[in-house]
Symmetry: C2
Subunit: 158 residues, 2 copies
Protein backbone atom coordinates (compact mmCIF):
# COMPACT_ATOMS: atom_id res chain seq x y z
CA UNK A 1 0.00 0.00 0.00
CA UNK A 2 1.40 3.37 -1.06
CA UNK A 3 1.28 5.75 1.87
CA UNK A 4 0.72 5.87 5.61
CA UNK A 5 -2.30 3.96 6.90
CA UNK A 6 -4.81 6.55 8.09
CA UNK A 7 -8.30 5.00 8.17
CA UNK A 8 -10.12 1.66 8.27
CA UNK A 9 -13.85 1.06 7.94
CA UNK A 10 -16.39 -1.69 7.40
CA UNK A 11 -18.70 -1.22 4.42
CA UNK A 12 -22.21 -0.39 5.61
CA UNK A 13 -25.22 -2.18 4.12
CA UNK A 14 -26.72 1.25 3.30
CA UNK A 15 -23.79 2.03 1.02
CA UNK A 16 -24.60 -0.79 -1.47
CA UNK A 17 -26.46 0.29 -4.62
CA UNK A 18 -28.73 -1.41 -7.18
CA UNK A 19 -25.63 -2.79 -8.89
CA UNK A 20 -24.86 -4.84 -5.79
CA UNK A 21 -21.64 -3.01 -4.90
CA UNK A 22 -20.41 0.08 -3.06
CA UNK A 23 -22.07 3.16 -4.60
CA UNK A 24 -19.59 5.64 -6.09
CA UNK A 25 -20.48 8.40 -3.63
CA UNK A 26 -19.63 6.17 -0.67
CA UNK A 27 -16.07 5.79 -1.92
CA UNK A 28 -16.10 9.61 -1.51
CA UNK A 29 -17.52 9.25 2.00
CA UNK A 30 -14.65 6.91 2.92
CA UNK A 31 -12.19 9.46 1.49
CA UNK A 32 -13.94 12.18 3.52
CA UNK A 33 -13.60 10.15 6.73
CA UNK A 34 -9.94 9.50 5.89
CA UNK A 35 -9.50 13.27 5.54
CA UNK A 36 -10.94 13.69 9.04
CA UNK A 37 -8.42 11.14 10.32
CA UNK A 38 -5.65 13.02 8.53
CA UNK A 39 -6.80 16.25 10.21
CA UNK A 40 -6.50 14.56 13.60
CA UNK A 41 -2.96 13.50 12.72
CA UNK A 42 -2.03 17.03 11.62
CA UNK A 43 -3.37 18.60 14.85
CA UNK A 44 -6.40 20.04 13.03
CA UNK A 45 -8.68 18.02 15.31
CA UNK A 46 -11.98 18.96 16.97
CA UNK A 47 -10.24 20.76 19.87
CA UNK A 48 -8.21 22.83 17.38
CA UNK A 49 -11.32 23.68 15.36
CA UNK A 50 -13.22 24.72 18.48
CA UNK A 51 -10.32 26.80 19.83
CA UNK A 52 -9.40 28.59 16.58
CA UNK A 53 -12.60 28.46 14.49
CA UNK A 54 -10.31 27.23 11.72
CA UNK A 55 -10.89 24.09 9.67
CA UNK A 56 -10.25 22.58 6.23
CA UNK A 57 -12.60 23.07 3.27
CA UNK A 58 -12.39 20.71 0.31
CA UNK A 59 -11.68 22.51 -2.97
CA UNK A 60 -11.43 19.52 -5.30
CA UNK A 61 -11.76 15.75 -5.18
CA UNK A 62 -10.84 13.39 -8.00
CA UNK A 63 -11.75 9.72 -7.61
CA UNK A 64 -10.60 6.79 -9.76
CA UNK A 65 -12.77 3.69 -9.32
CA UNK A 66 -10.62 0.65 -10.03
CA UNK A 67 -12.36 -2.35 -8.51
CA UNK A 68 -15.75 -3.15 -7.01
CA UNK A 69 -16.12 -3.14 -3.22
CA UNK A 70 -18.68 -5.47 -1.67
CA UNK A 71 -20.78 -5.35 1.47
CA UNK A 72 -18.61 -7.88 3.27
CA UNK A 73 -15.43 -5.87 2.67
CA UNK A 74 -13.33 -3.89 5.12
CA UNK A 75 -11.61 -0.95 3.46
CA UNK A 76 -8.26 0.49 4.53
CA UNK A 77 -7.01 3.89 3.40
CA UNK A 78 -3.42 5.09 3.01
CA UNK A 79 -2.45 8.71 2.53
CA UNK A 80 0.41 10.57 0.86
CA UNK A 81 1.07 14.32 0.94
CA UNK A 82 1.76 15.44 -2.64
CA UNK A 83 2.16 19.13 -1.93
CA UNK A 84 1.41 22.02 0.37
CA UNK A 85 1.62 25.79 0.47
CA UNK A 86 0.92 28.16 3.39
CA UNK A 87 -2.86 27.64 3.13
CA UNK A 88 -3.44 24.56 1.00
CA UNK A 89 -2.78 20.86 1.14
CA UNK A 90 -2.77 18.37 -1.76
CA UNK A 91 -3.08 14.73 -0.72
CA UNK A 92 -3.54 11.34 -2.35
CA UNK A 93 -5.51 8.46 -0.89
CA UNK A 94 -5.45 4.80 -1.81
CA UNK A 95 -8.41 2.61 -0.84
CA UNK A 96 -7.88 -1.15 -0.55
CA UNK A 97 -10.10 -4.06 0.35
CA UNK A 98 -8.53 -5.88 3.25
CA UNK A 99 -7.03 -9.10 1.93
CA UNK A 100 -6.75 -7.88 -1.67
CA UNK A 101 -3.45 -7.01 -3.34
CA UNK A 102 -4.60 -4.36 -5.81
CA UNK A 103 -6.11 -1.00 -4.76
CA UNK A 104 -9.86 -0.58 -5.18
CA UNK A 105 -9.68 3.16 -5.76
CA UNK A 106 -7.34 6.13 -5.72
CA UNK A 107 -8.27 9.70 -4.93
CA UNK A 108 -6.67 13.12 -4.82
CA UNK A 109 -8.01 15.92 -2.68
CA UNK A 110 -7.13 19.63 -2.55
CA UNK A 111 -7.89 21.23 0.83
CA UNK A 112 -7.91 24.86 1.98
CA UNK A 113 -7.30 26.03 5.55
CA UNK A 114 -10.14 28.39 6.42
CA UNK A 115 -11.07 30.66 9.34
CA UNK A 116 -14.86 30.46 9.68
CA UNK A 117 -15.12 33.56 11.92
CA UNK A 118 -15.70 36.47 11.77
CA UNK A 119 -16.33 35.50 8.14
CA UNK A 120 -15.16 32.58 6.05
CA UNK A 121 -11.70 33.35 4.65
CA UNK A 122 -8.54 31.47 3.78
CA UNK A 123 -5.97 31.47 6.57
CA UNK A 124 -2.35 30.28 6.89
CA UNK A 125 -1.65 27.06 8.74
CA UNK A 126 -0.15 27.63 12.20
CA UNK A 127 3.56 26.67 12.46
CA UNK A 128 2.97 23.36 14.29
CA UNK A 129 0.53 22.22 11.59
CA UNK A 130 2.90 23.25 8.80
CA UNK A 131 5.59 21.24 10.53
CA UNK A 132 3.33 18.20 10.78
CA UNK A 133 2.42 18.53 7.09
CA UNK A 134 6.10 18.78 6.13
CA UNK A 135 6.97 15.72 8.18
CA UNK A 136 4.22 13.65 6.56
CA UNK A 137 5.20 14.96 3.12
CA UNK A 138 8.82 13.96 3.69
CA UNK A 139 7.65 10.53 4.79
CA UNK A 140 5.24 9.88 1.90
CA UNK A 141 5.78 12.15 -1.12
CA UNK A 142 8.29 9.84 -2.74
CA UNK A 143 6.09 6.74 -2.49
CA UNK A 144 4.85 5.58 -5.88
CA UNK A 145 1.13 5.45 -6.47
CA UNK A 146 -0.32 2.02 -7.18
CA UNK A 147 -3.11 3.56 -9.28
CA UNK A 148 -3.87 6.40 -11.66
CA UNK A 149 -3.36 10.03 -10.68
CA UNK A 150 -5.69 12.95 -11.18
CA UNK A 151 -5.97 14.07 -14.78
CA UNK A 152 -8.03 16.22 -17.07
CA UNK A 153 -10.86 13.83 -17.83
CA UNK A 154 -11.36 12.91 -21.47
CA UNK A 155 -12.30 9.99 -23.67
CA UNK A 156 -9.29 8.66 -25.55
CA UNK A 157 -8.86 5.38 -27.39
CA UNK A 158 -7.72 2.62 -25.10
Amino acid sequence: MAGVMIHRTRVSHDWIDYNGHLRDAYYALIVSAATDALMDRLQLDAAYRERTHCTLYTLEMHLNFLREIQERDTVTVAVRVLGADPKRLHVAFELSREGADEPAATAEVLLLHVAQMPKVSAAPFPPEVSAAISALKDETAGMASAGPLSRRMELTRR
Copy 2:
Protein backbone atom coordinates in the same frame (compact mmCIF):
# COMPACT_ATOMS: atom_id res chain seq x y z
CA MET B 1 -27.56 27.05 -15.57
CA ALA B 2 -25.39 25.26 -18.12
CA GLY B 3 -27.10 22.06 -19.20
CA VAL B 4 -30.40 20.24 -19.08
CA MET B 5 -32.06 20.07 -15.65
CA ILE B 6 -31.88 16.45 -14.53
CA HIS B 7 -32.25 16.28 -10.71
CA ARG B 8 -33.51 18.26 -7.73
CA THR B 9 -33.11 17.39 -4.04
CA ARG B 10 -33.48 18.85 -0.58
CA VAL B 11 -30.38 18.76 1.58
CA SER B 12 -30.81 16.19 4.34
CA HIS B 13 -29.87 17.04 7.93
CA ASP B 14 -27.63 13.95 8.00
CA TRP B 15 -25.50 15.42 5.21
CA ILE B 16 -24.29 18.39 7.29
CA ASP B 17 -20.82 18.03 8.82
CA TYR B 18 -18.97 19.56 11.77
CA ASN B 19 -18.22 22.64 9.66
CA GLY B 20 -21.96 23.37 9.52
CA HIS B 21 -22.34 22.80 5.78
CA LEU B 22 -22.88 20.02 3.27
CA ARG B 23 -20.10 17.44 3.65
CA ASP B 24 -17.97 17.00 0.51
CA ALA B 25 -19.01 13.38 0.02
CA TYR B 26 -22.69 14.36 -0.12
CA TYR B 27 -22.02 16.60 -3.10
CA ALA B 28 -20.86 13.29 -4.64
CA LEU B 29 -24.07 11.60 -3.50
CA ILE B 30 -26.12 14.29 -5.26
CA VAL B 31 -24.02 13.76 -8.40
CA SER B 32 -24.62 10.01 -8.06
CA ALA B 33 -28.39 10.53 -7.84
CA ALA B 34 -28.22 12.86 -10.84
CA THR B 35 -26.43 10.08 -12.73
CA ASP B 36 -29.33 7.75 -11.88
CA ALA B 37 -31.75 10.34 -13.27
CA LEU B 38 -29.61 10.62 -16.39
CA MET B 39 -29.74 6.82 -16.79
CA ASP B 40 -33.54 6.97 -16.67
CA ARG B 41 -33.49 9.60 -19.40
CA LEU B 42 -31.15 7.52 -21.58
CA GLN B 43 -33.34 4.38 -21.25
CA LEU B 44 -30.83 2.73 -18.91
CA ASP B 45 -33.52 2.55 -16.22
CA ALA B 46 -34.33 -0.22 -13.74
CA ALA B 47 -36.41 -2.15 -16.28
CA TYR B 48 -33.49 -2.05 -18.76
CA ARG B 49 -31.06 -3.18 -16.11
CA GLU B 50 -33.29 -6.06 -15.06
CA ARG B 51 -33.95 -7.15 -18.66
CA THR B 52 -30.36 -6.94 -19.93
CA HIS B 53 -28.21 -7.28 -16.78
CA CYS B 54 -26.39 -4.23 -18.14
CA THR B 55 -25.73 -1.04 -16.19
CA LEU B 56 -23.25 1.83 -15.85
CA TYR B 57 -20.14 1.68 -13.67
CA THR B 58 -18.41 4.91 -12.65
CA LEU B 59 -14.75 5.02 -13.75
CA GLU B 60 -13.85 8.53 -12.57
CA MET B 61 -15.47 11.45 -10.77
CA HIS B 62 -13.92 14.90 -10.40
CA LEU B 63 -15.67 17.41 -8.13
CA ASN B 64 -14.98 21.14 -7.83
CA PHE B 65 -16.43 22.64 -4.64
CA LEU B 66 -17.19 26.29 -5.31
CA ARG B 67 -19.63 27.42 -2.63
CA GLU B 68 -21.00 26.13 0.65
CA ILE B 69 -24.41 24.44 0.65
CA GLN B 70 -26.54 24.70 3.80
CA GLU B 71 -29.15 22.49 5.39
CA ARG B 72 -32.01 24.72 4.27
CA ASP B 73 -30.96 24.59 0.60
CA THR B 74 -32.58 22.82 -2.30
CA VAL B 75 -30.04 21.75 -4.90
CA THR B 76 -30.75 21.49 -8.62
CA VAL B 77 -28.47 19.66 -11.04
CA ALA B 78 -27.97 20.27 -14.75
CA VAL B 79 -26.16 17.86 -17.06
CA ARG B 80 -24.17 18.15 -20.28
CA VAL B 81 -22.79 15.31 -22.40
CA LEU B 82 -19.16 16.10 -23.18
CA GLY B 83 -18.35 12.94 -25.08
CA ALA B 84 -19.22 9.34 -25.75
CA ASP B 85 -17.82 6.30 -27.47
CA PRO B 86 -19.45 2.89 -28.06
CA LYS B 87 -19.08 1.87 -24.38
CA ARG B 88 -18.32 5.03 -22.41
CA LEU B 89 -20.00 8.29 -21.54
CA HIS B 90 -18.36 11.53 -20.30
CA VAL B 91 -20.74 13.98 -18.64
CA ALA B 92 -20.56 17.24 -16.72
CA PHE B 93 -22.87 18.23 -13.88
CA GLU B 94 -23.50 21.64 -12.38
CA LEU B 95 -24.99 21.86 -8.88
CA SER B 96 -26.82 25.04 -7.88
CA ARG B 97 -28.61 26.18 -4.76
CA GLU B 98 -32.13 27.14 -5.71
CA GLY B 99 -32.35 30.92 -5.68
CA ALA B 100 -28.60 31.49 -6.10
CA ASP B 101 -27.03 32.75 -9.32
CA GLU B 102 -23.62 31.13 -9.12
CA PRO B 103 -23.08 27.35 -9.20
CA ALA B 104 -22.18 25.65 -5.91
CA ALA B 105 -20.18 22.87 -7.55
CA THR B 106 -19.23 21.36 -10.86
CA ALA B 107 -18.43 17.73 -11.52
CA GLU B 108 -17.32 15.52 -14.37
CA VAL B 109 -18.03 11.81 -14.46
CA LEU B 110 -16.74 9.06 -16.76
CA LEU B 111 -19.09 6.07 -17.01
CA LEU B 112 -18.68 2.62 -18.55
CA HIS B 113 -21.52 0.45 -19.88
CA VAL B 114 -21.10 -2.98 -18.31
CA ALA B 115 -22.75 -6.37 -18.63
CA GLN B 116 -22.81 -7.90 -15.13
CA MET B 117 -23.58 -11.45 -16.35
CA PRO B 118 -22.21 -14.03 -16.99
CA LYS B 119 -19.24 -12.02 -15.71
CA VAL B 120 -18.62 -8.27 -15.40
CA SER B 121 -17.36 -6.97 -18.76
CA ALA B 122 -17.60 -3.79 -20.80
CA ALA B 123 -20.39 -3.89 -23.37
CA PRO B 124 -21.48 -1.60 -26.22
CA PHE B 125 -24.53 0.60 -25.71
CA PRO B 126 -27.61 -0.68 -27.61
CA PRO B 127 -28.57 1.51 -30.61
CA GLU B 128 -31.50 3.26 -28.91
CA VAL B 129 -29.28 4.30 -25.98
CA SER B 130 -26.54 5.52 -28.31
CA ALA B 131 -29.18 7.58 -30.12
CA ALA B 132 -30.43 9.07 -26.85
CA ILE B 133 -26.84 9.91 -25.85
CA SER B 134 -26.20 11.55 -29.22
CA ALA B 135 -29.38 13.59 -28.95
CA LEU B 136 -28.48 14.87 -25.47
CA LYS B 137 -24.91 15.55 -26.60
CA ASP B 138 -26.17 17.60 -29.55
CA GLU B 139 -28.43 19.51 -27.19
CA THR B 140 -25.83 20.25 -24.50
CA ALA B 141 -22.22 19.80 -25.67
CA GLY B 142 -21.90 23.38 -26.87
CA MET B 143 -23.17 24.93 -23.64
CA ALA B 144 -20.43 26.75 -21.76
CA SER B 145 -19.57 25.60 -18.24
CA ALA B 146 -20.19 28.12 -15.48
CA GLY B 147 -17.39 26.60 -13.37
CA PRO B 148 -14.03 24.90 -13.65
CA LEU B 149 -13.50 21.74 -15.66
CA SER B 150 -11.68 18.61 -14.66
CA ARG B 151 -7.91 19.00 -14.56
CA ARG B 152 -4.77 17.32 -13.34
CA MET B 153 -4.78 18.46 -9.74
CA GLU B 154 -1.79 20.48 -8.60
CA LEU B 155 -0.86 23.40 -6.38
CA THR B 156 0.04 26.43 -8.42
CA ARG B 157 0.36 30.04 -7.36
CA ARG B 158 -2.98 31.81 -7.51
